[in-house]
């Protein structure tokens, strides 16, 4: 009996091992990489955090949000504005950006959580458009369509500058690993199991005694928090924040990343993010029809691996055990 007590499904452990292996490999190989692939790896690490944060809602709770760029973008704008106009350092920017992104998610959550299915999709889309509108129209704050350029890389006071690609890559990789670990614990926690339960049957969860609204709301806010975290990294990485960062396309792309890798698996979402970043930036070198290829990949995944690439590999054999 005791052997079975501490027993999360063994597939999770394998994913954790694979994830650590991938992170370590990336860390070890990084110094040997030329600047541009390193830049893309950095971008992939950051976008992976965004995709994973969405997966908490999409894959674990079953809430397909189409407005996730909002929290990402609000955090990125906060960093951009504070870092360029107030010369604020990393700590201040981070705290302010996370507070604002989380507060926005807390507000939007109140409006969105009562809706389900397509209505949830529509309402998150609409709220995302509100934030895009703000970014575009509140010119005195956001510089509107011009965006905010020249966001300086943060100084850590450690003697090496994050302005160089390699140190910033390690910075982003470490931050992404931390976020991944935190989200990993979350989805495996009692709370995380509750999210999966809601995804499967809300009425049963209510009957068992769960305040389903509260559970979903907390997931929504936490997801916004991590999307904000990705936004902070993005502002520093790109040095530029504009309305395109909060537009619908960004939300849709994030949704596709999470869906591509396998909703309900954080590692899958990260894999989806890495795949799309590299697909976008490498395939496009070889052919102008790269959008067609990306579209074909999406359709292929939907047809043959609706649970995503990782989901297809981890599927339980029928009648297992």
């Amino acid at each position: 009996m005791s052997s079975g007590l501490a027993a999360p499904a063994p597939t999770l452990d394998r994913k954790v091992v694979a994830g650590f292996a991938a992170l370590t490999l990336a860390g070890v190989l990084a110094p040997a990489l030329p600047a541009y692939p390193l830049t893309l790896l950095t971008q992939a690490a950051i976008v992976a955090v965004l995709a994973m944060s969405l997966d908490i809602l999409l894959g674990y709770t079953g809430l397909p949000s189409l407005g996730h760029a909002a929290y990402f973008g609000i955090a990125a704008y906060t960093v951009a504005i504070l870092a360029t106009e107030r010369q604020m350092g990393l700590a201040g920017c981070l705290v302010a950006a996370l507070l604002l992104a989380t507060a926005t998610a807390a507000l939007f959550g109140v409006l969105a959580i009562r809706a389900t299915g397509t209505y949830f999709l529509m309402i998150t889309l609409a709220l995302g458009m509100v934030v895009w509108g703000l970014a575009f129209r509140w010119v005195s704050m956001t510089k509107g369509d011009n965006g905010i350029a020249g966001v300086p890389r943060p100084g850590l006071g450690l003697g090496w500058s994050l302005a160089e690609p390699l140190p910033f890559f390690y910075f982003a990789l470490l931050a992404a690993a931390l976020a991944w670990a935190a989200m990993g614990v979350l989805v495996r926690s009692p709370f995380g199991l509750g999210l999966k339960g809601i995804r499967e049957s809300e009425s049963r969860m209510r009957a068992l005694g769960y305040n389903v609204w509260l559970h979903k709301y907390l997931a929504f806010v936490i997801s916004g928090f991590f999307a904000g975290f990705a936004g902070v990294l993005w502002a520093y990485y790109n040095g530029f924040v504009g309305p395109a960062d909060v537009q619908l396309v960004t939300s849709v792309e994030t949704l596709l990343m999470a869906a591509l890798g396998g909703p309900g698996t954080l590692a899958g979402s990260a894999l989806g993010a890495v795949a799309i970043v590299f697909l976008k930036n490498f395939v496009s070198v070889y052919t102008k029809r790269w959008l067609l290829i990306l579209g074909a990949v999406y359709i292929g995944v939907i047809l043959w691996a609706p649970r995503g690439v990782l989901g297809a590999f981890t599927r339980e054999p029928r009648g297992a055990r």
């Binding site: 091992v17 991938a22 990489l33 541009y36 369509d145 020249g150 530029f240 309305p243 795949a275 930036n281």
Partner: protein
């Protein structure tokens, strides 16, 4: 452990691709004698892909003409798709600079891309030219040492036009309608300033959101006592607005004026008689009858199967501009400071758009043409009806005084007569 194997394999495959593409760059890239590399950023997919096509065709047309050779070295053009997205443009710019090791970075469409590329050009110390991006402040309040604009800025031609409309057409009251973002604000702002400085009054300013599909609600708001309407649109919005202006019965009753993009050759062939008579101003028209433009327009039509837009001309001119600078320093493009200085010294009289020189903020001083849409040989064209030579981005104003004023925005200049 199956998952681990798969993940590792996937990652390894990704890295393989990464290494393969970087190693494909010949190790002699730095050494003199390798090709001179020009990196072009253009929106080849997405909503603005037609403009991107013109940009690419214009650039290629010039480089074709010189056999991709300059100062005894081969010229290599590396094109990257920006999808009309600034974040993508930044990533691709890094690729061009860091991986392809281009000697000159050029292109870009959106104003935001211009502002975002500024710090990159400065940090990487990479000579950069902007043939299209027209935001005023890129060469006014926020210039960049490493950036030379080879195109134009939004308010440059509008300063000329506002004054011309007030003095020549003698209109007194004008309603403006334009896209509700920086490009619209700067174009309207430039027009309003000189129009009102010369006795005119803007009596109403209407702003339309970028994604407007139906302009009827905006057109019906236009005050009918106006002497003329001044419009700022481009692309699909220009086509729709001009059409709906006619549908609303305003054409022929209230003359329509516009900025250059409203009747640019990128949209003009798709317009009908509703466009006849619209007067605009720009630093180019495909109908310019100087020999350089005749030759360019004919060659462009042969290559692209359509008349050249300003996007095509500016990228053609931009390519020549870069090549002239390369020639001026004997092809030693590895000397970045020298190349930058040469780019800023280029001064030629025979571009298709006419003579051009560069001011010390990095913006062209060039002819501005007042144009009217006419039908010649069954086709619409922007006939030049007035030429203003050597127009600076500051028009007749003192640059230092000018720069103390804020940038033109939605609310600046204010509208005292509205």
């Amino acid at each position: 452990m199956k998952m681990k194997v798969i993940l590792v394999r996937t990652l390894a495959a990704g890295l393989n691709v990464a290494l393969a593409t970087t190693l494909a760059v010949p190790p002699t890239a730095h050494a003199q004698g390798g090709p001179i590399k020009i990196g072009l950023l253009a929106p080849l997919t997405g909503a603005a892909s037609a403009l991107g096509k013109d940009m690419l065709n214009g650039t290629e047309l010039y480089l074709d003409g010189i056999g991709f050779q300059a100062a005894g070295r081969k010229v290599e053009l590396i094109v990257e798709d920006t999808e009309g997205n600034t974040a993508t443009a930044l990533t691709k710019a890094r690729k061009l600079v860091e991986q392809d090791k281009v000697h000159v970075l050029t292109g870009g469409l959106l104003a935001s891309t211009g502002y975002a590329l500024h710090p990159l050009a400065e940090a990487q110390r990479i000579p950069t030219t902007y043939p299209v991006m027209s935001s005023d402040d890129l060469t006014q309040r926020k210039p960049a040492k490493w950036v030379v604009r080879t195109g134009w800025n939004s308010s440059q031609s509008m300063h000329v036009f506002g004054e011309w409309v007030a003095k020549t057409l003698k209109y007194k009251r004008i309603v403006t309608i334009g896209l509700d973002y920086a490009f619209g604000w700067e174009s309207v702002g430039g027009f309003q300033r000189t129009f009102e400085d010369n006795g005119g009054q803007v009596i109403q300013k209407i702003w339309t959101p970028l994604n407007t599909n139906d302009f009827a609600p905006f057109v019906t708001q236009i005050k009918r006592e106006a002497d003329a309407v001044f419009a700022v649109f481009f692309g699909r919005a220009a086509l729709q607005f001009v059409k709906q202006y006619e549908t609303a019965g305003l054409k022929g009753r209230v003359p329509l004026l516009g900025n250059g993009t409203t009747t640019d050759e990128s949209v003009l062939p798709q317009m009908g008689d509703e466009a006849l008579g619209i007067m605009t101003a720009l630093h180019y028209s495909a109908a310019l009858d100087n020999p350089a433009n005749q030759k360019f327009a004919k060659a462009f039509e042969a290559k692209a199967g359509k008349i050249p837009s300003y996007y095509a001309e500016t990228c053609y001119t931009n390519a020549r501009w870069i090549v002239e600078a390369v020639k001026a320093i004997g092809g030693r493009v590895e000397d970045r400071e020298a190349l930058l200085a040469a780019l800023r010294r280029v001064e030629l009289r025979d571009f298709p758009r006419g003579p051009v020189s560069i001011d010390r903020w990095g913006n062209p001083v060039q002819n501005i043409y007042v144009r009217r849409v006419d039908k010649v040989g069954g086709k619409l064209q922007n006939s030049v009806i007035a030429t203003f030579p050597a127009v600076s981005q500051f028009w007749k104003y003192d640059p230092d005084e000018y720069l103390k004023q804020p940038l033109y925005t939605r609310d600046h200049p204010p509208c005292p007569h509205c």
